[in-house]
Symmetry: C2
């Protein structure tokens, strides 16, 4: 590695004082614009790196914001990250990203690593099975803000950004009931994850509102609801007697895969079985029939979560964040062919 370029090298090259160089690089008003430009050009040409570590040591700021996602291989998380990155980069922050791969041990390790690398704040969507939140206490102790998004924790200390999962699932299930469905299967991930536990509630509430008895054997819980799971889900459904007439799946990729396997088995959607997905992913719009789904604004969620974090960093003395327990984003049912047993009214 080459020798590090310092302000002394720049000063020597231009015949000015190191103080002038330092002031120019920090945009001090006492240095003339022309001189500043000369110094900037020389710094760039010589390959000067502003000494951010030393600056961090003084300012106690790293300008890095940590994000821990359950898995990077997810359309939804990719949209969220895109929204976060946009807001962070506009405000001059970098994103440090890691994935917990749905393991609470890895989540704890990631959290420690983020803490030790001194992120200025942390955004996290919890792993499945994250039982306690002890691993965030070092952040709370030091006053480093932690914001949960999507899969949020029930805690008084942090803000959570999410949609109303109970209500969304209730609306989706209601829609199926309105279409005449009486035996509705609900497919979800582990109820240790807040979003799935809440959607199950919404499903039950919709049933009870219409006096439809809740049947435990119509609920299919899988550790990973993805494309691969479609085959297994449909084989479970085909064993049910009588056959269900509605299917509410907690994400679109899995719903599309179920649709595929239902068709392969001669079940017509929506005539024999009406289908509703979740997330409004691109796949829901391109399969046949198009899938009715809940629009979940991932990009906007990323923007909102990051904006709140940065606002807090820039004005830590206001109590906005401390007093905000939950931010709920708008979500909505998008009705398409897969659920329409009756003509669209």
């Amino acid at each position: 590695m080459e020798k590090e370029i310092t302000i002394y090298d720049i000063a020597k090259g231009l015949g000015v004082s190191p103080t002038t160089v330092s002031r120019a690089l920090n945009n001090h008003p006492a240095v003339k614009e022309k001189t500043k430009k000369k110094i900037f050009d020389a710094a760039s040409e010589l390959g000067y790196q502003s000494n951010i570590f030393a600056a961090n040591l003084r300012s106690k700021r790293s300008n890095n914001i940590g994000v821990i996602v359950p898995s990077l291989k997810s359309n939804f998380q990719a949209s969220v990250l895109a929204g976060m990155e946009k807001v962070a980069s506009e405000a001059g922050f970098n994103l440090v990203i890691s994935q917990s791969l749905e393991s609470s041990e890895k989540e704890i390790a990631n959290t420690k690593s983020m803490f030790n690398s001194r992120v200025d704040g942390l955004l996290i969507s919890l792993a499945s099975g994250a039982e306690n939140l002890e691993h965030f206490s070092p952040f709370y102790k030091k006053g480093i803000p932690v914001i949960f998004y999507d899969r949020i924790a029930n805690t008084d200390i942090s803000t959570g950004v999410s949609i109303d999962n109970i209500q969304s699932a209730q609306i989706a299930t209601n829609h199926l009931i309105d279409q005449g469905c009486r035996r509705i299967v609900h497919v979800l991930g582990s109820t240790e994850v807040s979003v799935y536990a809440e959607r199950l509630k919404g499903y039950k509430y919709a049933l009870i509102d219409k006096n439809i008895p809740f049947e435990d054997n119509l609920v299919i819980v899988l550790s990973d609801i993805n494309e691969e799971a479609g085959e297994e889900i449909v084989s479970q459904i085909l064993k049910m007697d009588p056959l269900p007439d509605g299917l509410f799946v907690s994400n679109d990729a899995c719903a599309a895969s179920c649709l595929n396997h239902l068709k392969m088995n001669g079940i017509r959607v929506p005539q024999d079985m009406a289908l509703v997905g979740f997330n409004n992913e691109i796949i829901s719009r391109l399969v046949e029939p198009k899938i009715t789904t809940i629009n979940y604004p991932g990009y906007e969620m990323g923007e909102v979560a990051m904006k709140n974090l940065i606002n807090h960093l820039e004005e830590p003395d206001t109590t906005t964040l401390q007093n905000t327990n939950k931010i709920t984003l708008r979500s909505e049912l998008i009705i398409r062919e897969s659920s329409l047993k009756k003509p669209k009214s």
Copy 2:
């Protein structure tokens, strides 16, 4: 913010010397395991942050690796990042991620920000229209490794990790010709992006090999080939006279959207028009008919790119990376219903 916990606080609390604490935290062999455990527990309980900035100042390592992607809202990039994160986290590195949003100005700004925040290495998939590579020279000057992936640059200084895009497109086009297609439309993004320029070459080479004349008006170039573009592409195709009999689209989401609009216009796939996509995204397997595509191993590409970078960081004196100009990953044609005009042989 609370007062920073130092090794002196830990020492005082346990009645040991600060030297012992420092040694224990650095896993020095002179400290007994039992004492180490006691010190680790106390450090954790008090909320001690190892002083990574100061350590970085000494070691000149940040343990951060920068990744610049054209857009985070991409299935393919999400898979690549998942592969990178896995390898990086196992080796104790953090990922710092930003997106260029296909703007070369933003790419230049991102690159500068990565340089100033002292990443140990940089992985980048170039933005469309990245004309010169001047913005990487500060990295080269300081010996910080830069690896290009997917959208690579033709340079002697850096390693590029990609698939053979020419060959893949040639194989895809050949397959359509074998199915009897003679007027094949090729849809691609800006040819300023290496991957698209190369795929166009492969398309032309396949035609010339079979003595099919290349027609400029069968090539549709769009700035963004995505779901939204399907409608526009199909409306262009419907104006062609005679109608094409084959369609090769440079990504699956766009191919699926084209399929949708073709069907809406009464064009049967594959009977009237055979279709091939690119990437082997989930969507290609769930639409009807399933789309023939090129399998592009994004996750593996992320792993390979990151492994090479880290190997170089750990053994900078070996010349492996400097002498490796290009790493080409295996890709393959996956034949499905959308292109089969003839029975599968």
